[in-house]
């Protein structure tokens, strides 16, 4: 059997006090000190843990919030002294897009590397904005492997980045003019640069190891290149340098070691590509297209240029069109680009990478269903290090989560765990869809269910037109 892609993981507990959703309020003054104290009966043993937690406290502001919310103690206390409360710290995590739930589940995955599993049915809203306005499909009968969850190792998540010619011409048995270079990575994910304000100096040495260990590629801004550390040679195949308009051409050694490089979509893209290919003809060049109001048109226009082989479509951190009041969402923008390229028969001439707003493993699957070949992520890896997206660092203040002080093992472990958990979840939904390789997931809207379509096909027929849209 060939080697299967497998990410080695181990549990990495958090450095910081855990921030749970629910805490216990305990009015001790009326306690009867009865012998059948409900605290001893806590199924999850939280009270005993709390005691030992308090003993080991180093900061006085840390509160224990790990109640599982079963209400058993509240309802059984002889004197009714206990109550549960929502943790205000939890509710302040993240923002409206990166919700407390997203941050909490990211932390759990970064700690355990496991797929989050829980009991009871789905608890959330019927549908929502962005990625929540679609579902992935399943197949009752068509299976990728005939083995369901046990056959998951046969599901391929590998993708190729680069141009895939629709037609080959042969010259004496060999493809005429050779084949365009391709970069293959074992899962459809690339680590993008962190948003400017979040680029703490100690993160790049961690990220480069994560990229190498998981086999994916990390994009590093040429301006930050020095921060990635020395001994970069062995990491070059898993690194891609980003060159903005003003960046000088990197040295030959760097470019020959790398497989992928990214450039900005300024007017000089064509010249840049030529220069880069001159040094290393085997390198794949991606053009980063910021998805502002003209993003879709620019992307489609670039795709028509023979020198463009990869487009990296980037929305803002929340997946929105950049600088727009009523922004379109990344999944819809990528879908437009994808559809337009399919219609003009150009789809395989370019690889589409899509980033911005990819916050959960499901977003990776959904973004690919909407037409991307692979996704790029950044903030989830930062959240894996217990970041709460408080943005203090953006304002130049010190990081309350002390991310500047992490050690390499912790950082690498947490990020690797998260990527492993995402990989497993991708396989989970692909298994359910009956799709055996992620290359075939791309743009496969037949395996996706869109809120608008379903509403129109069902309620729309019965109840007329939908309001407010």
């Amino acid at each position: 059997m060939p080697d299967k892609y497998h990410i080695k993981t181990q549990p990495i507990p958090p450095r910081r006090p855990r921030i749970g959703k629910i805490g216990v309020v305990d009015w001790r003054e009326d306690c009867a000190n009865c012998h059948n104290c409900v605290k001893k009966a806590c199924v999850f043993d939280r009270y005993r843990e709390e005691m030992s937690y308090i003993r080991g406290l180093r900061e006085m502001d840390a509160v224990f919030f790990q109640c599982m919310g079963c209400f058993s103690c509240v309802q059984q206390c002889t004197k009714g002294l206990l109550a549960l409360s929502a943790n205000p710290v939890y509710e302040r995590l993240g923002n409206t897009y990166w919700t407390p739930q997203i941050i909490e589940t990211t932390w759990a995955q970064a700690e355990s590397a496991k797929i989050p599993v829980s009991g009871a049915g789905y608890r959330g809203r019927f549908s929502g904005l962005g990625f929540d306005s679609m579902w992935t499909d399943m197949s009752e009968i068509v299976r990728p492997t005939r083995d369901g969850i046990h056959g998951r190792e046969y599901i391929s998540t590998a993708v190729d980045i680069g141009r895939k010619p629709a037609l080959l011409h042969f010259d004496a048995g060999n493809p005429a003019g050779g084949l365009p270079p391709l970069v293959d990575i074992p899962m459809p994910m690339i680590i993008d640069m962190l948003p400017r304000g979040y680029r703490l100096p100690n993160l790049l040495p961690v990220i480069k190891i994560v990229a190498a260990q998981t086999g994916v590629i990390a994009i590093i801004d040429s301006k930050d290149w020095q921060l990635a550390g020395n001994d970069l040679d062995q990491y070059l195949p898993n690194l891609a340098i980003y060159l903005d308009a003003s960046a000088p051409l990197p040295g030959r050694e760097l470019l020959t070691g790398m497989r992928l490089v990214e450039i900005s979509d300024d007017g000089n893209a064509e010249r840049r590509v030529r220069e880069l290919k001159q040094i290393n003809p085997g390198i794949v060049v991606a053009v980063r297209v910021e998805m502002d109001s003209g993003g879709i048109e620019r992307a489609v226009e670039y795709a028509r240029q023979p020198f463009v082989e990869v487009l990296h479509l980037v929305a803002d951190d929340n997946g929105n069109e950049i600088g727009e009041k009523n922004p379109r969402f990344i999944k819809d923008m990528v879908r437009s680009v994808h559809n337009s390229l399919v219609e003009s028969g150009l789809r395989n001439e370019v690889t589409l990478m899509a980033g911005g707003g990819i916050a959960l493993a499901e977003h990776m699957a959904k973004q690919i269903l909407c037409g991307a070949d692979l996704v790029t992520i950044n903030l989830p890896l930062l959240i894996a290090l217990e970041c709460t997206l408080c943005r203090d660092c953006n304002d130049g203040q010190s990081c309350p989560a002390l991310i500047g002080e992490i050690d390499i093992k912790y950082g690498v472990g947490r990020m690797t765990n998260l990527i492993a958990a995402w990989h497993d979840q991708l396989i989970e939904v692909m298994g359910a869809m009956g799709i055996r390789e992620v290359r075939r997931l791309r743009g496969e809207v037949g395996r996706a269910l869109f809120f608008e379509d379903l509403e129109e096909a069902t309620f729309g027929k019965l109840f007329g037109s939908r309001k407010n849209n």
Binding site: M68, S118, D137, I149, H150, F463
Partner: protein, 526 residues
């Protein structure tokens, strides 16, 4: 469709009528409604009364409160813990018994319980949980003065945005006794028994292992009282359920745990579980912690090893295979009806028609937001469509294919109360399967901790010896009977307001519904 089997009629003629009577005398459970008070010392209430130090212990509040919230026991100086859960809240102001106003020392204060913020979720709102508890306690819909908003959840779509368009007065005046809520399950006219259940719902499959023995027996007992069914789930069919065989559906799921010819012969309905709404396309999950020695014995597996059922049936890759599967069951038990439980993919309509042609009596759609003992979060949220869409699609397609009246369409996956049940029927289902509602009646508050460790801290979805002893079968079955009764009262009331004599008249009457997010101006909506 031509059957490969000997025609049913011929077989039936050759067998004695008593064939359905099993060896074990079947349990009889009377449909008696009696109070089943909550089992916890401190009940969670929507409104709570706080007593300040200004209280002079005069006892006036205890005297005036008709609900008995304040407890001052004779011979005691101080108040005992108040019965907060019977307090009707601000609605009391107009009754002349409002203790907050009447307290001579102004020592009482009423506040909305701050714990409501951590109870429940978008789909099961705190009000819905409390109302379900109240129904399970009393056997009747909660009195309006409690102010529970329990007819809908807060998910912002589907059932939660659909309302009935009740006429100002019923077109025909009917008394509740005139209204028939029964549901015929066999429409194939194939000589198999005409099974009729008294209410248009039955209990969802919950395996031994995912839930306790006590929970299963409580559900079964309530099913007998309402002449409906419960379902074993995929974890085997325990001997203790023998007295309930006539009201039990046994599941043949992909794991085939504990499935034998004898277990299939015991029942009147066999259910093929192709998929489950909470984890469509993945197969059952029972995590290691919950595979206790007794569960492992029942499932013939190893203690402490996670059980992930395969997906799908390895023997079924086409409708023809599906038919072969059905024929196999029909052959083993010649008097059973067969149900196919499927999930809701985009081609759910084709799946339903396929099930009909394969010979199913019941096609059971389990929508994407269905309940579970353990499922990956990514599956629960994202895979397959919500049941509301699926009912409309399937009902419509079966109608167009001309087979709608030859198969029973059952819906499940997020149906929480009588209103959801009625809406599902109005959208096109014949009946529904309920699951979480029953568990809430038993004291579940959806803390979602059923999947691992010792299991459910509230003793429902666990096989932990200590935890599952938190309530008895007697109490549990009474709670579910009460809940069923309350639902039936509400369903009858809905039918009465529409002037319908039978629940079957409601099926597919989308013209009686409106959707709050739509213009509701289509021809049929008018």
């Amino acid at each position: 469709m031509a059957s490969s089997l000997v025609p049913e009629k011929i077989i039936k003629e050759g067998l004695p009528d008593s064939i359905l009577e099993t060896m074990v005398p079947q349990a009889e459970v009377q449909r008696v409604i009696k109070p089943a008070p909550p089992r916890y010392r401190n009940e969670i209430a929507k409104y709570i009364i706080r007593r300040s130090a200004d209280c002079k212990l005069c006892g006036k509040c205890a005297e005036i409160c008709p609900q008995g919230v304040h407890v001052l026991k004779p011979g005691y100086k101080y108040f005992a813990a108040p019965h907060q859960n019977v307090c009707i809240g601000p609605a009391c102001k107009d009754t002349g018994h409002y203790c907050v106003d009447l307290c001579p020392n102004k020592a009482l204060r009423m506040v909305e319980n701050p714990m409501m913020k951590v109870l429940g979720d978008y789909r099961w709102t705190p009000d819905l949980i409390l109302a379900t508890w109240k129904m399970a306690e009393t056997g009747a819909p909660p009195p309006p003065e409690y102010g529970y908003e329990y007819e809908c959840g807060n998910s912002g779509g589907g059932f939660d945005r659909i309302r009935f368009k009740f006429p100002a007065r019923p077109p025909v005046e009917l008394s509740p006794d005139d209204i028939d809520t029964s549901l015929e399950l066999n429409r194939r006219n194939d000589g198999r028994p005409q099974i009729k259940i008294d209410v248009p719902w039955y209990g969802g499959g919950m395996s031994y292992g995912s839930v306790s023995n006590v929970t299963q027996l409580s559900k079964a007992s309530a099913a007998v009282a309402f002449n409906t069914f419960t379902c074993t789930g995929e974890g085997g069919y325990m001997e203790r359920l023998r007295p309930y065989d006539d009201h039990t559906i046994t599941q043949v799921a992909t794991g085939l745990f504990g499935v034998r010819e004898e277990t299939i012969q015991r029942v009147r309905i066999v259910e093929f579980k192709y998929a489950q709404g909470a984890k469509p396309g993945l197969g059952g999950h029972l995590l290691a912690d919950k595979v206790t020695p007794s569960v492992a014995r029942m499932r013939e597996t190893v203690t402490g090893i996670s059980l992930f059922s395969p997906f799908p049936f390895h023997s079924v890759y086409s409708i023809e295979d599906h038919k072969k599967h059905m024929d196999w069951i029909k052959h083993i038990n010649r008097h059973a009806l067969v149900s196919a439980k499927v999930s809701t993919p985009s081609d759910v309509d084709m799946v339903a028609v396929g099930s009909y042609s394969a010979g199913a009596h019941i096609v059971h759609l389990d929508g994407g937001y269905g309940g579970t003992g353990a499922a990956p979060d990514i599956a629960k949220k994202n895979i397959a469509m919500p049941i509301e869409y699926a009912i409309i699609k399937v009902h419509d397609f079966l109608t167009r294919e001309g087979v709608r009246d030859r198969i029973t369409l059952i819906a499940s996956g997020g149906l929480r109360n009588a209103h959801d049940i009625a809406k599902a029927i109005a959208l096109g289902a014949d009946g529904v399967v309920v699951g979480t509602g029953e568990l809430v009646a038993l004291g579940c508050l959806r803390c979602a901790r059923c999947e691992s460790g010792r299991g459910c801290p509230r003793g429902i979805a666990t096989t932990d010896a200590e935890l599952q002893g938190q309530y008895t079968v007697e109490w549990g079955s009474q709670r579910i009977i009460n809940l069923y009764n309350a639902w039936r009262i509400e369903l009858v009331e809905i039918l009465r307001r529409f002037g319908m004599r039978r629940v079957s008249e409601l099926r597919g009457r989308t013209d009686l519904l409106m959707h709050l997010d739509y213009s509701n101006d289509t021809e049929q909506a008018r």
